[in-house]
Symmetry: C2
Subunit: 582 residues, 2 copies
């Protein structure tokens, strides 16, 4: 059992069937065709040589097949993580240097070790502190930055920057140097790819192709673009006219190597590694969960951490860079019939084959084509609807999204996601620190107590019933003190205060002290303090203190019991809708 | 109305009576006698010249009388804030230098401005994030540090440090230089003061003095100690034998001066100023609230921020240092019959008088005596019972106290309080991220649903009822997804899942997306998803989304309605205590 938990391969490999093999193999072939241009393009985005993208698509996939729990997740380089890698690594070394390559490897190793550690200690819940709105905002802003950063390859100019301001500024400065031949290739690839995405599938279907096959062919659009534009550059000798090309990619598998340990570098990259790990994990696990649920299967998020961690460690030891599960790629894998993680291993074999035999053919591939495939891919990440949705639903979430987008675009990825997380935490704490407190009264003809401002209810002049809609903890305990004392000070005829605790899931030490203070102060005022509807675990804990002994009033099972015991006149109220005071 | 809010003096001064004047004056005389040695001693603790303590006890008290809302709070230098001042200021200037004095003034100004700003923007709730256990732990640890730091004056040696390790190390190094005459004065003052505190009041009462008068006389113990030890040094010429004395204190009121603005210094002191403000405010407001409640009065915490802020700004402009409301002093003020904040203004007149006429008499006052009064005062702050109490009641609170105490003692005051706040916030977030989820069933013979693990209840094989005891927000939304899918995956005959939301006070955007995901995944599995007992404000918000349209099941008013609608067999269950499955 324990072994199966840490090596999920043991749960499916022994029962591996012929039919599963067929499904996995077909899926692997389709994903391989999709992944070759993607891995080259994302390496470009990360500022790394093209072969690094291929290397990151071999060994990591094998390790994920052993340690991962998702039967459909396709691991490899992805857009957002590539951008984050570039932003982090460019801070320790100039792009194109050996140090830059080395830092990317170190980043993969740190990210892998962190993910494995989180998985072993079952700390995956940390990722939950990245709220959906923050992730959506971050992904949208990252998509914009990525698309903007690739424009320079479309224009054939230099440029740089890892936030929108820097990118636009450097594009503007270099604009006069635009290479029109590159622009023609880039722009026509863009038009072609957008058409493939929107128009090819319906066209193929109208031509009689089955829907699934049409969808699969439509996904191979980038391959056509690569073949056609490479041929064009080669035939027209465009690279001599200044069109940037991928150039020679070393043939052969990556050399295994042990990443270098340099404490200063590790400390510099630690924050980025943590963010890359968490963002990569969150994105990956949500795809995996969605796909697993479609087959009434489950993934184990803690084991997923180990699977993704192992993949990243493998990437580091085979000259790659940080990887995670890709969204589009996993959906294709699933739709194409992948039945087990073995599909990933077969994809790895496919990419290894490409690395061994295909790289010479990619010599004349224009970088503008790769940039166009990136731009088309990331446009699906950009989704401003989250702003509208959260604005309508919850302003706190809207604030978190807006801040995440603005800071990511204006400052950069690390600061953006950090600002988003802090904003959402601070707003959550703020909300819980000022909980909703309602004065409640009896709904005539029932045993229910509701807010006196929303319902026509019966109240007693000598009894004040307050319902607090939050657990009581340090951040709101003083608020409760103030609120109770304010209600009592405004209410001179009062003899009893009942605190209705149906929504109080916890009372911590601070809140206990506040309740003691409220009890003591009400006692000084000659008012008794009662509790009602206290939950079992909360009562258990209160019994371990002297609070219940000191309490001037009683603890009632229900609010109705409390109110009728303290004002028996309530018992004789006839049913009716009027606001009566007895 | 508005003017009265910001100038509480307008609410009491117009009705000021003869009898209130009598009470205020008597209280002021007693507090003045108590405050003279205290203000000298706390200035010593803060590493400042003795007169600075007196200066901080004049103008600040007048300003608090105008802007403060507590009728009993006695403002001035206090032990913990003096220690925090010393720890902060010693980082920018050496003790004894003009820069040190200047930095203390700047700290008072920054603290004052911050407090006023928090009050004007009604941000006093920020102080709530300091939990009671963290404050208790911090005050206890500060008391130990203060007592330890004063031992060097008792021994007549040099030494320093602002955490326990540094203090003990420096005491140990200088121990051979102990001045035995100083030690005799210090030790005998300590013994005398402890005896006054424990034994004098009962003795006076036995001698026939009324209890209140006996208590008041017992509080003046430090004055006797000051008089006797000063006389001893003078008569025996002990200062010539190496007994450290206060020496010449400038006679006259403080020169008004505008604090210097130096951006670097302000930035360096900003963190300490913020902590001093918050700690001072929290301590002060809890004393003020306790005393106000005794007379069924209330204080306004936001206006208290303005009152304390004004007092600190006044301190800065009259060569003082940070002040706040003192615990023991305020209780004495209250017990002695202070009726309005005017008592504070009268105390200020008393201290001003002392500054003008009394300072020459303090020339021979040994610092050992002042150190002894500090040690005796702070022993009442030390309370390790909080560790035992929180250990029994709530482990999270225990962890926060323990970390606060250890970090304060081992590293220092700033780090200690910061570590405590962060610990309590992280533990709170952790707890809410893994909420209590119970599978519930019907208690036979009732309409109540309770935890199947705690009660004998009736469940239906096709219906799973889950009660979640927490608001749903980003940090626990994925936990909920995992939990629901796990329950369903383990439970193949299932047709319906009901989420009972009686304790759900909010559903944020992330949780909404998780509910949508749960709904969609359950739909894929052929299981319907229902909600019950959703609160009004939560339902209102859900109606602004498409969630309820997409929901495969229904929203039921009560859990009983839901369960009986989905499994009508429940309606015919006879009352009984057996665990029945229908």
């Amino acid at each position: 059992m324990r072994l199966t938990r840490y090596f999920p391969i043991l749960s499916w490999a022994p029962q591996y069937t012929h039919s599963a093999f067929g499904g996995d193999l077909l899926a692997a072939i389709i994903v391989t065709i999709m992944l070759i241009p993607q891995s080259l393009a994302y390496a470009l985005l990360a500022g790394l040589p093209a072969e690094v993208g291929l290397y990151a698509s071999i060994l990591p996939l094998v390790l994920y097949a052993i340690f991962g729990t998702s039967r459909a997740l396709a691991v490899g380089p992805v857009a957002v993580v590539s951008l984050m890698t570039a932003a982090a690594v460019s801070q320790v070394a100039p792009q194109g240097s050996a140090q830059y390559l080395e830092a990317a490897v170190v980043l993969a190793l740190m990210s892998g070790l962190l993910l494995v550690a989180l998985g072993l200690f079952r700390l995956g819940f940390i990722a939950n502190f990245l709220s959906h709105p923050v992730i959506s905002g971050f992904i949208t802003a990252s998509g914009i930055i990525i698309a903007a950063s690739q424009l320079r390859h479309i224009l054939g100019i230099s440029g740089g920057g890892y936030n929108l301001l820097d990118i636009v500024r450097s594009l503007w400065a270099d604009l006069p140097a635009t290479n029109w031949r590159t622009l023609v290739i880039g722009a026509s690839t863009l038009v072609f790819l957008f058409w493939v995405r929107r128009g090819l599938k319906p066209l193929l279907e109208r031509a009689g192709m089955p829907a699934a096959a049409a969808a699969a062919v439509a996904k191979t659009g980038p391959v056509f673009a690569v073949v056609i534009s490479t041929a064009a550059v080669w035939l027209l000798d465009l690279n001599a006219a200044g069109v940037a090309i991928v150039g020679s990619i070393p043939t052969g598998l990556p050399e295994p190597a042990v990443p270098r340990f340099d404490l200063d570098q590790w400390l510099t990259l630690a924050g980025a590694a943590a963010l890359i790990s968490v963002i990569g994990f969150v994105e990956s696990v949500s795809v995996a969960q969605t796909l697993a649920a479609k087959k009434r299967e489950r993934i184990d998020p803690d084991q997923e951490l180990i699977g993704l961690g192992a993949a990243n460690i493998a990437s580091a030891f085979s000259a790659g860079y940080p990887v995670t599960g890709g969204f589009a790629r996993s959906v294709v894998n699933f739709d194409a019939g992948a039945r087990t993680p073995a599909a990933g291993a077969y994809t790895a074999v496919g990419i290894a084959g490409a690395t061994l035999f295909l790289t010479p053919l990619l010599y004349f591939l224009p970088t503008a084509t790769l940039a166009a495939t990136i731009i088309v891919a990331v446009t699906s990440l950009i989704d401003f609807a989250i702003l509208k949705r959260t604005f309508a639903y919850a302003r706190a979430d809207f604030a978190a999204v807006a801040i995440t987008i603005l800071v990511t675009l204006g400052v950069g990825v690390d600061m953006g996601v950090t600002a988003g997380v802090l904003t959402s935490l601070i707003l959550f704490l703020y909300k819980t620190s000022r909980p909703h407190v309602a004065v409640v009264g009896l709904v005539p003809g029932t045993h229910h107590f509701r807010n006196i401002n929303r319902h026509e209810v019966i109240t007693s002049p000598a009894v004040l019933s307050l319902r607090i809609d939050e657990s009581l903890y340090f951040a709101n305990s003083r608020f409760l003190e103030d609120r109770v004392l304010k209600e009592v000070a405004d209410n001179k005829g009062l003899r009893h205060v009942i605190l209705m605790c149906s929504a109080v899931n916890e009372i911590d030490s601070s809140a206990l002290e506040s309740l003691e203070a409220i009890n003591a102060r009400l006692k000084d005022m000659g008012v008794k303090f009662h509790l009602s509807e206290v939950k079992g675990p909360v009562t258990d804990r209160l019994h371990r203190t002297h609070f219940l002994d000191a309490l001037t009033g009683q603890v009632f099972l229900s609010q109705y019991d409390a109110a009728t015991a303290l004002d028996p006149a309530l018992l004789s109220i006839p049913p009716g809708g009027e606001d009566v005071v007895v």
